[in-house]
């Protein structure tokens, strides 16, 4: 499909020269009387990252800005705004009679807006459910101990695909919930293959990522501050709003990052629980690459998504400059 797919020989030469230089540098460094510098230990990693992280990113950028023949073009980005772009161009060339047929394709923009909306909903729900959870978990008066924390971690360590598939058995037409409804004499409900099911799957998968950063921020908090606030006459509500809430902001920011980012790009949850009725941005990218084999448009979409994520990350970093909230990996 793609004429310009393979590495030109000069790139291979460049890699060869780099590799030889790298080995030579190593030998020379070892030969020196004072031994090798410690920073030299990082060089295999540097080479690895250049090959497997930076180079692939450069390739995505290359495909995003070229057409299938390898010539520079911005059409892939115009295609993002108007997915009928190539067809429309033909209509326009055919003359004014065909101008009626020109219609902007909104698939890409529509999917992006839908993904952002779903991710936002998911983040808000996770925050609404997760904040109280983290707050109660960190509540020392409850004397819950670390066992409870472990209980919240365990589901996260199960294959997330399996967890999503497990919801399928609960939600499907002949599934557990509907069987239960029938046993109670209630009408069965269509629970799968709609936005609600996708949202449920997302909240289920990402909720722990909201709970743990907030929990970490809350446990780090100095308890004396709360006592001081109460000694100074603040009631419990005031103590929460003026002391606890501001101190937990880094955790909340981190939680929002860790829920929102993967939510926007998820593509297996809508596939499994949405049954193809819903499409998210991750689906769209996968579709362009694997179903249509259109690498140029797919790369442009990936690039747009990466830029969006870097922008939102830098906004969130501004709210938490020290990155204190990064409590969990």
């Amino acid at each position: 499909m793609n004429q310009n797919l393979y590495l030109p020989p000069w790139v291979l030469w460049l890699f060869g020269v780099l590799f030889v230089g790298f080995v030579a540098y190593g030998i020379v460094s070892v030969r020196r009387s004072n031994g090798i510098k410690r920073s030299f230990f990082a060089s295999p990693y540097t080479v690895w990252m250049v090959l497997f992280t930076l180079l692939p990113c450069v390739l995505i950028a290359y495909y995003a800005f070229t057409d299938p023949t390898g010539a520079f073009t911005l059409d892939n980005f115009r295609n993002f705004w108007d997915s009928n772009y190539s067809v429309n161009k033909i209509y326009e060339q055919m003359g004014p009679d065909y101008a009626v047929l020109v219609q902007r394709g909104t698939v890409n923009i529509g999917t992006l807006v839908y993904s952002l909306w779903m991710a936002l909903l998911c983040t808000v729900i996770c925050l609404a459910i997760g904040y109280p959870t983290a707050y109660f978990m960190a509540d020392r008066q409850l004397k819950l101990g670390s066992t409870l924390v472990v209980l919240f971690v365990i589901p996260m360590w199960m294959n997330f695909l399996l967890r999503t598939v497990a919801w399928m058995t609960l939600l499907e037409d002949q599934g557990l919930i509907n069987t239960l409804l029938k046993a109670l004499g209630l009408p069965a409900a269509q629970l799968m293959y709609n936005n609600g099911a996708v949202l449920l799957g997302m909240v289920y998968n990402f909720l722990p990522f909201m709970i743990f950063p907030i929990y970490t921020a809350l446990t780090k908090m100095d308890n004396n501050l709360l006592e001081a606030a109460q000694d100074l006459g603040a009631n419990r509500l005031n103590t929460f709003w003026r002391v606890t809430a501001p101190l937990s902001v880094p955790g909340v920011i981190s939680g929002i990052t860790m829920v929102f980012m993967p939510s926007v790009t998820t593509f297996f949850i809508p596939r499994i629980l949405g049954g193809g009725n819903t499409m998210m941005f991750g689906d769209l990218i996968e579709n362009r690459f694997l179903t249509e084999g259109n690498w140029n448009v797919g790369s442009a979409l990936s690039l747009i998504m990466m830029v969006l994520i870097l922008i939102s990350l830098s906004i969130l970093r501004k709210a938490d400059p020290e990155g204190e909230g990064s409590g969990i990996v």
Partner: protein, 257 residues
């Protein structure tokens, strides 16, 4: 009794988190094939599981990739962390940005960019490419778990060892390594579990001929899951639980990640 409401709330959240898992495990013991009806207790699906060639092959791929990728990432990442720690401020900042980049990149972009790389360089996708991809996304996590340990140790012990006549490799093995071992082990276990759990990156970097468990589950989930997969997930859950308990004990002994 005062806190009953709070405890009930936490219980409710745990119920939400555990219901699908419990249902899945229970179904794996169901004698019948129906998902909704209980037809008696049996180990039928567990015996069927070990006779299923596709699942056994996927299990083999998953485990070997996870083990090799974890070890390779640990070696690469530990050396890198030691090197980065010794760098001056500027290059150090560049290296840390490069380490954080793949962690902020969405999985799907990482997967696709690697797929492009492999097609571009005419490397056929399969076991090796999946392994390379796993090492790539694991290494930054190892670095980030080794880094804090390096920051804690005395800066000059390595130089002291060199002054006393140790070769760099000797100093590395006998001076630095013992001090950072907890971080290295945590990083290795983290890399192993991440690799075990990965779906998106594997999906893009392997061919349909070489599947790991995640991609196998994905391809089957669209047709309809078989009870053998329930049995498999129950087993995987149990083994991850054991691994988690080990990690947790380690984390309790040393400092948390």
């Amino acid at each position: 009794m005062k806190h009953i409401g709070k405890k009930a709330y936490l219980g409710l959240i745990l119920l939400f988190l555990y219901t699908p898992i419990v249902v899945l495990i229970m179904q794996s013991f169901n004698a019948g094939k129906s998902r909704a009806k209980w037809e008696g207790f049996s180990f039928r699906w567990y015996t069927a599981l070990f006779q299923d060639q596709a699942i056994m092959k996927a299990l083999y791929v998953t485990l070997t990739v996870a083990v090799i990728a974890a070890i390779a990432a640990t070696v690469l990442g530990t050396l890198a962390a030691i090197g980065i720690q010794a760098m001056r401020k500027r290059p150090q900042a560049v290296m840390m940005t490069m380490t954080n980049l793949p962690m902020t990149m969405p999985d799907i972009v990482t997967g696709i960019s690697l797929m492009i790389l492999f097609t571009f360089t005419k490397i056929e996708r399969g076991y090796m490419t999946m392994l390379l991809a796993h090492i790539t996304f694991n290494t930054p996590y190892v670095i980030l778990s080794v880094m804090p340990k390096l920051k804690q140790m005395n800066k000059f012990t390595y130089e002291a060892a060199l002054d006393l006549g140790a070769s760099p490799s000797y100093a590395l093995l006998h001076v630095i390594l013992p001090e950072i071992t907890p971080g290295v082990v945590t990083g290795c276990l983290l890399a192993f579990t991440l690799s075990l759990d990965d779906f998106v990156i594997s999906y893009f970097t392997t061919s349909p001929m070489v599947q790991n468990l995640s991609t196998l589950i994905y391809s089957k989930a669209r047709i309809g899951i078989e009870p053998t997969l329930n049995a498999l997930s129950a087993l995987m859950f149990l083994s991850l639980l054991i691994l988690l308990l080990i990690v947790n004990r380690r984390a309790g002994k040393t400092t948390r990640l």
